[in-house]
Symmetry: C2
């Protein structure tokens, strides 16, 4: 059975979006549709142009016998700026204020459309790096980690403060929570992270950076390396932060519980654009 | 600027996949591409046929002024059978055996490609129901809940055994864990679930059903109703189960720690197909 171009375009678009960062040989599509490779190449040119024009992402073509095409997520600067501005307004809503100056964020972290955009924004910033796995700590970081991992097409590992029998042997460390200076424990299932992995650390919130610093120490135990650190919200912190090289989408500058005012501004994500660097230039990500 | 059909097809496919269960007016696409509504209708016919032929899902057209088109996820019987068979093999691997007869499932629950399929399978079964929100309990149910919610395009709420300051006021209940008969507590942030919601309960594992029964009791406190219950793995349980009407993808019939053998078979998901009922017939889901 032969397929018309229009049908191929619809199915290929779905297939590529469903398999980000996966190198798909042209022969795979040629066989799937009973079409010549030259027709598939023409289809891919149309998809590539539309993806770029619409900010859906990039299609990278790898030439040669072992070559093929892969879809790489990329969020344009204008799309990112618009999304982060909207997020700032959402977070600054005074109804989020909880006793103690905490912010209610559960609704934001439960919304699949917001999470998709958070995941796309984070994944876009690391698309040029080689990421093997995304790591987070239970509980609130989990949806963000999965959202980013789904665009990077890599697994997620979850660090826990309590160890469960269903995790098997775990490696645990003690760490000092940055702001409260309390000693806490976190652990990771031994089987869930391969030695030497390149790990993207993701969390919902960072103040002093104690939790993230704990995750970095934990990675040492697995001889794994930090490929990047990204948080949804960073909070202003007067003292020395324990973590330096990170990416934040939103920055909480001040919470005034008396005046019921939350001051929020974009995080350091934008600085990457301002440095003029093209985040997406060299994708070595497998 | 006018767009050619081929470009429209690529962009519309992406847009529809990215906004499941959302009614998109034809005028939205007509304006987006500067095209006549008749051309958009023809495009949608091509997309609809390809989606159905390739098992991507269905496109439902709602006629009239307030009408439009929406993408509804649907997993075909053959696709579902193949996926569940693969999952059974994956789970039956004796290397998963942990002390006490527990199974290591962390790798499965961390794999975004597996989770996508789990989410699609669960969402397909409830596509005809009106679901407002997906509920699960921390921690292992979380990725499954988000995977299903992303296909249903509804939010997720997470029930916790510990209450956190960042959740605001919570409603807590005591429940009896089915197999260990211990009294435990679970709570849900008051703000995170609207009164009267139709809730799909999702979890990774069910034995006696105590945890899921707890979630049902919690829903009573919110005057919310159970629209469905779905678990990835159900375990054989000799006594009366606390929950009856549920959908399981996999059934763990026996774990023999001495012989290192895990017996797994498909869950009751297939029975729905065998009853001859078309799960996807009447989609009243908004």
């Amino acid at each position: 059975m032969k397929f018309r171009r229009s049908e191929r375009l619809v199915d290929m678009t779905h297939y590529l979006l469903d398999h980000p960062f996966q190198l798909v040989p042209l022969t795979f599509f040629a066989e799937r549709y009973g079409s010549a490779k030259s027709s598939i190449s023409e289809d891919l040119t149309i998809i590539k142009e539309t993806f770029e024009h619409r900010g859906i992402g990039r299609l990278v073509t790898v030439p040669g016998a072992a070559g093929g095409v892969k879809y790489i997520v990329s969020s344009s600067e204008s799309e990112t700026r618009q999304f982060i501005t909207e997020m700032c307004e959402l977070v600054a809503n005074p109804e989020r204020l909880l006793p103690g100056g905490y912010l209610f964020m559960t609704d934001i972290l439960g919304d699949p459309q917001v999470l998709k955009k958070v995941g796309k924004t984070i994944a876009s910033a690391y698309a040029h790096k080689s990421i093997d796995i995304v790591m987070t700590v239970a509980t609130k970081g989990i949806p963000i980690a999965y959202a980013a991992a789904s665009y990077l097409n890599v697994p997620v590992v979850i660090v826990r403060s309590d160890s469960k029998v269903t995790e098997g042997s775990t490696v645990s460390i003690n760490y000092v929570s940055g702001s409260s200076k309390r000693i806490q424990t976190m652990g990771l299932s031994k089987r869930s992270l391969a030695q030497g992995s390149n790990v993207l650390i993701v969390d919902d919130f960072m103040k002093a950076g104690g939790t993230i610093n704990g995750m970095i120490s934990l990675l040492d135990e697995f001889n794994a390396s930090v490929a990047g650190i990204s948080v949804l919200v960073e909070s202003e912190y007067a003292e020395d932060r324990l973590v330096n090289d990170y990416l934040s989408l939103i920055k909480l500058t001040d919470v005034d519980t008396k005046a019921r005012k939350i001051n929020v501004k974009p995080g350091n994500y934008f600085e990457r654009f301002e440095q003029g660097g093209n985040l997406y230039e060299n994708s070595s990500h497998k």
